[in-house]
């Protein structure tokens, strides 16, 4: 298909195609869109891409994306450093932050354990987490990985192989999985309902 395009255009289409969620059709649409926009806009897009690659790095403490060595959250003196919420992706951190409820700090694993994808603990930011737990006064670790087979295995591994051996009496919790708030019970899928039943609690 790419053969029908002029070479530079074909290159752009095939670059777009590599993006997640972009098929050949959308890649073509995006490429033609880029051709049609003014030069400045195209420049701005190209610049944004180069700049993000040049300036964004992992936070030395929590492994979140940041443009400084230490991210804003880890720098913030008002955050409670005794509670660490472990998430697998930066976007999960952003979702948590949007709640404006959580006052602790984070640790971003940058993935989940998945042998099929060649991802073992060495590819995740687990060593960094370990040194935080060893050196800081951490009272609680909240595990907020996705409720998938891989997310659960990762949570299990961190509990049993990373935190438990420290013998520091750190409390380990896992976020509840169940009914969406404001959702209708009759619209919830069955796995969600089953989980909600399992994690029910006493009325106070």
């Amino acid at each position: 298909m790419a053969l029908h395009y002029a070479k530079p255009l074909a290159r752009l289409v095939s670059e777009f195609e590599k993006l997640p969620g972009v098929g050949p059709k959308s890649a073509q649409r995006l490429a033609f869109h880029v051709l049609r926009i003014p030069d400045e806009e195209a420049q701005a897009l190209a610049c944004a891409i180069t700049e993000v690659k040049a300036s964004i790095q992992y936070c030395e403490i929590c492994a979140n994306f940041t443009d400084q060595p230490i991210c804003d959250i880890c720098e913030d003196p008002r955050r409670d450093r005794s509670t660490i919420c472990v998430v697998s992706e930066p976007r999960d951190l952003i979702a948590m932050e949007k709640t404006n409820e959580y006052r602790g700090v984070y640790h971003v694993l940058q993935g989940v354990i998945s042998p099929m994808d060649g991802i073992g603990p060495d590819r995740l930011r687990i060593r960094q987490l370990l040194s935080r737990l060893e050196n800081d006064q951490v009272k609680e670790v909240i595990l907020a990985t996705n409720p998938t087979v891989e997310g659960d295995a990762t949570a299990m591994y961190i509990t049993e192989n990373v935190i438990r051996p420290l013998e520091k009496g750190i409390r380990v919790t896992k976020i509840a999985h169940g009914m969406p708030i404001g959702g209708d019970i009759d619209y919830a899928d069955q796995a969600t309902l089953i989980s909600a039943l399992e994690w029910r609690r006493d009325m106070r």
């Binding site: 354990i113 998945s114 042998p115 099929m116 060649g118 073992g120 603990p121 060495d122 590819r123 687990i126 998938t148 087979v149 891989e150 659960d152 295995a153 990762t154 299990m156 591994y157 049993e160 192989n161 069955q190 796995a191 089953i194």
Partner: protein, 378 residues
């Protein structure tokens, strides 16, 4: 549950066919390849939204036509009437209509009609590979337990990941630290696997009692059917899911070295089997054709009863080619049994001589020929 009216349009070898079945026994008689099984299949589609014979929905459409419809009026308990329709098309997405309202999500319409189907393929449950019997278990239990469905999916995912890891360990190319993740996968495997084992065990213990009764009736009390769950490790001493989970972990520890050497998971529900024995002999190895068919039939009749208990009314019974291999006595017992259950029943055959005269008197009979079914004048 009773189908009062069935209409198929451009479906299989039928251009347009209407049928008004009776509450009791309905018989489709005709030569080979005339369209008898096709009619049973259409009613199975009403219950499950798909056919067991067709690998693609488009196979259901009459050659040369763009779409097929199956329509029915069904009477449920307490005289609730239900108009149900399934439409498959070469261009559009499959959809169903329930009392006129359109659904494209099949989960919303499956189970509105309850049916149990017996066909020659069911003999494979008895004499086929263990994987056929596991599929049978999964299919049956999934129908009534969403939790089983979820655990089955998660278990398969877990075992795929775990086998990948074990293979890497065997070939000594596991990533640093990966070996230590094995215990996390073990916990997951035991967690989901124990639920599967528990549900399979209780399903089979209920099934075996009911199937033994049906089997005893069919064989006139001569043969004793025993259905036994054969899990990959013993769970006789543990009574609940937590116990099975612990035992699963214990067993994983036993086989750990072996698993690393072989590079695959060696125990768990993926290695389960079920044995069907008649008077203490394994029917898979020693059963005659007729015996195997009787066992398969008894299992289906038990399934019928389980569904009746669950939904509160007898499901429709679809018996395809059930009569071959059965002797006269077993045939008579079968129809006596079925008559007593109160299930509306549909049977195919190539010859009415296969039926006892007393049974034929009360049945409605269609002669099926080249995609047309006509009520037999008698």
């Amino acid at each position: 549950m009773r189908i009062d009216y069935l209409e198929v349009i451009h479906y299989r070898n039928y251009r347009r066919q209407q049928i008004e079945p009776v509450e009791g026994l309905n018989i489709f008689v005709g030569e080979n390849a005339q369209g008898k099984s096709n009619l049973l299949e259409s009613m199975y589609v009403l219950a499950t939204s798909k056919s067991t014979r067709a690998s693609r929905d488009s196979e259901l459409i009459l050659f040369g036509e763009p779409s097929a419809s199956i329509r029915a009026r069904v009477n449920r308990i307490k005289d609730i009437d239900l108009a149900i329709e399934f439409d498959v098309s070469l261009v559009e997405k499959k959809f169903a209509k329930l009392n006129g309202s359109r659904h494209t999500r099949m989960a919303d319409v499956i189970g509105q009609v309850n049916a149990v189907m017996f066909d020659s393929g069911d003999l494979e449950t008895i004499r086929g590979e263990p994987s056929v019997r596991r599929r049978f278990l999964d299919l049956e239990i999934s129908q009534t337990s969403p939790r089983y469905v979820h655990s089955l999916g998660a278990y398969r995912k877990t075992i795929e990941q775990r086998n990948f890891l074990l293979k890497e360990i065997r070939e000594r190319r596991a990533r640093p630290g990966s070996l230590e993740t094995l215990s996390a996968w073990n916990v997951q495997l035991a967690n989901y696997g124990s639920l599967l084992i528990d549900r399979r065990r209780s399903f089979l213990s209920r099934l075996s009692v009911i199937a033994a009764e049906a089997h005893s009736l069919l064989s006139d009390g001569r043969d004793l059917l025993e259905i036994t769950y054969l899990p990959s490790f013993h769970v006789n001493d543990v009574s609940d899911v937590t116990g099975i989970q612990q035992e699963f972990l214990n067993q994983l520890a036993f086989v750990s070295d072996d698993e690393k050497a072989r590079g695959t998971t060696l125990i768990g529900p993926q290695r389960d089997d079920v044995s069907f024995s008649v008077s203490k002999r394994d029917s898979k190895l020693f059963g005659s054709q007729g015996q195997q068919r009787t066992v398969a039939l008894a299992v289906k009749l038990a399934e019928r009863q389980l569904i009746e208990e669950l939904v509160g009314e007898p499901p429709v019974l679809l018996l395809d080619d059930v009569l071959s291999d059965l002797d006269d006595l077993r045939r008579r017992r079968l129809f006596e049994y079925v008559g007593e259950t109160g299930s509306q029943t549909f049977v195919t055959c190539t010859n009415l001589r296969a039926f006892p005269a007393s049974i034929l008197e009360r049945a409605r009979i269609w002669n099926v020929c080249e995609g047309k079914a006509e009520i037999s004048g008698g």
